[in-house]
Amino acid sequence: MLTPSVGYLILLVFGVFFTSLTIIMQRRRGKAMTAEQFSTAGRSVGVGLASASIIAAWTWAATLMMSSSTGFQYGISGPYWYAAGACVQVLLFAIVAIHLKRKAPKAHTFLEFIGKRFDKKNHKLMMVFALMTNIIVTAMVILGGAIALNSLTGMNVYVAAFLIPLTFTIYTMIGGLKASFIADYLNTVMIFVILTVFATVVYMKFGVSTVYEGLQSLPESQQMLTMASIPGLFFGMINIIGNFGAVFVDQSYWQRAIASKDSAASKAYIYGGIAWFSIPFAIATFLGVSAAGLGLNVTDPDASAPLMAAHLLGAAGSILFLVMLFMAVMSTGAAELTAITNIIVTDIYRESINPNASSKQTLKVSRIVTLSFGLAMGILSILLFQVGIGLGFVYMAMGIFVSAAVIPLALGLLWKRTTNAGCFYGALLGMISGVTVWFTTAYMLYGNISVQSLGELHSMLAGNLTVFIVSGTIAIAHGLIAKEEFDFESLKDKFKSFDDDQTEVQTSANARREVV
């Protein structure tokens, strides 16, 4: 067992390392940071870095812990469903990413696009969905990391929840999106290295046949060694549907398309999705399924991965696992933080508060927003924890709350006949009816409405399906009936860089002077 000081040490080392790395990179670059650079990384990121960063953003603490839990419970179908069920969203996101690149090459957020494509009301509704997604994901990631640190090292969970965001807030505040990309790259590579170490040790120490025989002799061996497992399939379906909201409505994935070069935007998601597949697939097979096969004494399936890591390599295994987990938390946290900052700066500050802000002003506001949100997220996570909202519940329920925006959003980008009203009411009614069906199903099937009955697979599945069917039907049907056609070409000049506004304001001021 590790001591709390190991936890503090890991936080300190990574916080200091990435902050100094960012400062050194800034110095070497030699150019002053601008607002546009801060929020888009210069729109010059290549395929490799972008896909590493997509992987980092999509590798949550849950990817490492929950996937192993499914492997431990459902056998070999668990890892497959976890990996396949959460990687298709990233693959399909490639399509909307490249459409955004083509139709609005200068946008900073997907909401900015929505604001220009539809009206103000729609913009606000989508913004609520987007901010909700970002805040829930950040809180979930921080809490997941804090709980893991607490259970592995005994570190105080509240202190951990407050210190974790601090480690990535500071370097993000200094270096913006580009710094987050560099940290993502290093984190992703480390996660791959540590996973390879674990997988190799499983082979060397136990061998495949020991695990296989162990799985065969389990009482539930019927489902452990086949893909035809009903609970596995059920989990897979919920995983597929629930994760759409977490990718399509999350600005941090759009951000990666915006920051990429034109030629890299779509490829990065395809390559990133395929490469990401291997993370949950491998960790859950080598730590989760193997833990079951080796007959490890695991009381809580969620803890099967760290227990197996400790079983493989002792204290060193625990530290490696902790480092891997913390890196996953840090890079997702930084990605979410830049996403929140971008939404607030682009869609609130530049849209309503100060449309003519100079590059310098915008940069200053971006940094203030990053810092204050970073600190606030720590406090919010602590509050959530105090209220007693469980992590698993939030993870499962999130789809119902945010997925209503998925189809209207994608249609708005892909289909010229999508209407403003169809999109708005689709998203709004989709969410309302989804929540209603979710509660009704829970009441009809289990006789009461409680966190437990709401958390059951059947209620979740019914709620999630309703959200998609209702929002999709309204958005498509109204588009077909209304027969409006939108001209995407008209959008192209409507987006402005944060940097060249200043010159524009000056020229218009000059023009005014001339008129006078």
């Binding site: 490799g48 070999i76 495949v208 893909m227 035809a228 779509s266 395809i270």
Partner: protein
């Protein structure tokens, strides 16, 4: 010119995205589910090798590609 390239990219990536999605969540698990195949030791070994190889290849790709791109960029601008 640039728009043509993007148009082509759109076609390519739509095909790949839908193709891979179909394979990963319908075709492969569908076949495995319908046949109800129970993994033999040999198949299970192959399965773990697949997980391992996938991990190594993906890891190498992620680790190396950004450096190659940086190198090419430097060469082009020099």
């Amino acid at each position: 010119m640039k728009d043509n390239q993007l148009q082509r990219d759109i076609k390519m990536c739509t095909r790949w995205a839908f193709g891979l999605t179909f394979f990963l969540i319908i075709l492969f698990p569908g076949i495995m589910f319908v046949t109800g195949y129970n993994y033999s030791l040999q198949f299970f070994t192959g399965w773990t090798y697949l997980a391992f190889t996938w991990l190594i290849v993906a890891g190498l790709y992620i680790a190396i590609r950004p450096w190659v791109e940086m190198y090419l960029e430097k060469k082009r601008s020099a």
